[in-house]
Amino acid sequence: MNGYIDSHQHFWQLSRGDYDWLDNSPERIRKDFLPDHLRPILTDAEVIGTVLVQAAPTEAETSFLLELAERTEFVAGVVGWMPLDAEDAADKIDRLAENPWFKGVRPMIQDIADDEWMLKPELDAPLKRLIRHGLCFDALVKPWHLPNLLRLLKRYPKLRSVVNHGAKPDIASGAFDDWSRDIAAIANETGAFCKLSGLLTEAGFAAGISELKPYVEHLLECFGPERLMWGSDWPVLLLAGDYRGWLSMVKEFTSRLGEPDKSSIMGGNCAKFYRLESRRTDRRLLRLHPQDNILVCCQSLAKAERISVEGVRVELPTTVETGHKIASSAISKGEKVIKYGVPIGTARVDILLADHVHLHNLKSDYVASHHRGGKRATGTRA
């Protein structure tokens, strides 16, 4: 893998008005944080993709995040909020699942007064619907939620779940034992993943490697390099540090691991868990063979519609109907156009990524056999 994937970051735009929790937050994070703010930081840190996570308990915010994902080249997926205990929650999940950027749901369990909320029977159908769609469940929990979370995850062993921020142990006050026992139970008795993020914030502003070390070591030991994923929790992270600083701490914590394990924690696990790879190409486009340089449209796509071709987001230059083809890479004049893994003709002109490929720019190489001369057309016995 070239470059890291940040499994956890947020954007917010205060004028949208649904970030109640920010009202009491320090000024440092009580301002807009949008893709243009993060982009240079990511470039600097060699982070190629992020998972954008909800920060407000509203469906409007989820729509906002999905729109941001649509037009932000580094956002690889969105974990949104929806009312998981609503009567029509399963239907809402069906609709959200249609969006290729939607990867999972995060109820704000840490802010819900009822610690047993997650075990409510109303959640049964929606959780099963998440499983059916292969969507993920982000558990934003505090240490005291862990026993209930364990019951929940054992009830739904197929639910793809990830504990956020190591369940936010109270590092600042040095609490360790109950947390370490309960998080170990989650790791040992379920298939849950865990995000290596948010810990600096729990440790307080002056904390460093030594304060965090026992907690990170414990998470590494419990979940192993196969189920731990690095995340920044930016911009919340700014309460306790900065992006580069946290990234170097994580690198320090994982320095004794081999390259493949490091690479898993720094991006591979996240891509696998949220299935980021599989949806890099728009699901409205069909790749029939790995060697193809065209994609087939599964539905008609309008001019200027934004599509995603293996992670590259482009605007469609023309309307393209169902069954028609667009270029999945630039194809030079004279180059073969490949579909089903075989040449179906030659490009008449230079074809750009996402261009409609059809009669105007593709010509057949086929020469009718009875025009090839010399060959008897009857019988099969040559």
Binding site: L286, C298, H358, Y366, G379
Partner: protein, 395 residues
Amino acid sequence: MKGWLRKDGRKGIRNVVLVAYLVECAHHVARAIVTNADATEVQLIGFPGCFPNDYALKVMASVCTHPNVGGVVLVSLGCEGFDRETLAECVRGSGRHLETLVIQQSGGTRRTIDLGSAAVAEIRTKLSSPDCEIDIPDLVVGTVCGGSDGTSGITANPAVGHCFDQLIAEGATCIFEETGELIGCENVMMARARTPELALEIESSLTKAANYYSILGFGSFAPGNADGGLTTQEEKSMGAYCKSGSSQIDGLIKPGDVPDKGGLYLLDVVPDGEPRFGFPNISDNAEIVELIACGAHIILFTTGRGSVVGSAISPVIKICANPETFAMLSADMDINAGEVLLGDKTPQDIGEDIHRQVVAVARGDETCSEALGHQEFILTYKTFEPIGPACLPRR
């Protein structure tokens, strides 16, 4: 899976009794016998022509001794040109229960219907229960497309290709055909041939098909194809050709040739010689009959616009390419390959669905067309020369 072991070593997944008319003049009597039996395993087939034809005899002999067939009642008028004796000898030699009725010698319509009904009843009492284990390597699976539209080549056909690859890897025998719709794929197909000599035979068969269709006045690429997104002849043909998957092509066969065990075979359905009897295949079922004559136990039929047919003798699994068609005709369709267009599944996923369905049908599950009573059969005149020695390199 349980099946029926036949004398030639092949195994059947069904055990049907065929009532076969040997000329159109015997059609009514044969049909009445089948109607009297009122059982799905008693099925009507036949050849309508009065003049003799080697191809028709070969196909009739092949289907009457198909592993899915347990008994046969031949119904002849008496004076037709069909070589009744040779067919009867062939069926008898295969160890199957046989009765031959000649209307002119049996006292006419009513008497022959009575005799035929009694013969069917008697054969049915003698039919055995499944007596052997069947595994994937025992299966011969054919594929055909009909009522194609713009979706066929991107959903159902590639899915069948994936299923074929899986079946062949597991030792099954698979057959694809429609050389007339493969024009433009010559080079790709030749590259997949088991031997260079077989590659030349494949090329010749496609040249023959191209010539045959151009004489009949049919080009393969129509303006409607371009509206549906197809740009070139080779692209259109690939849409049909991808049903064959990506395995090596082990042979080229003609109707009635039973391929070697295991592997992928191209069935050449275009007659040899100058066009003499009209269209190579007058409808989809003519191709299905030819696949069955080559031993196919199961037919994978892909359709975009929505064919509803089944077949006598071998179950037809219908794979609907177009999600809108599926919504309209879902009771006729076994597999909804249109899910690919909804982004829910890949052609590979559908291929696995088809594979599961093949196993279920081989185990005895009814296909939609079987449940609905479809038992189509059609056989007309053709002329073929025998295949050359390079066509089956492993033999």
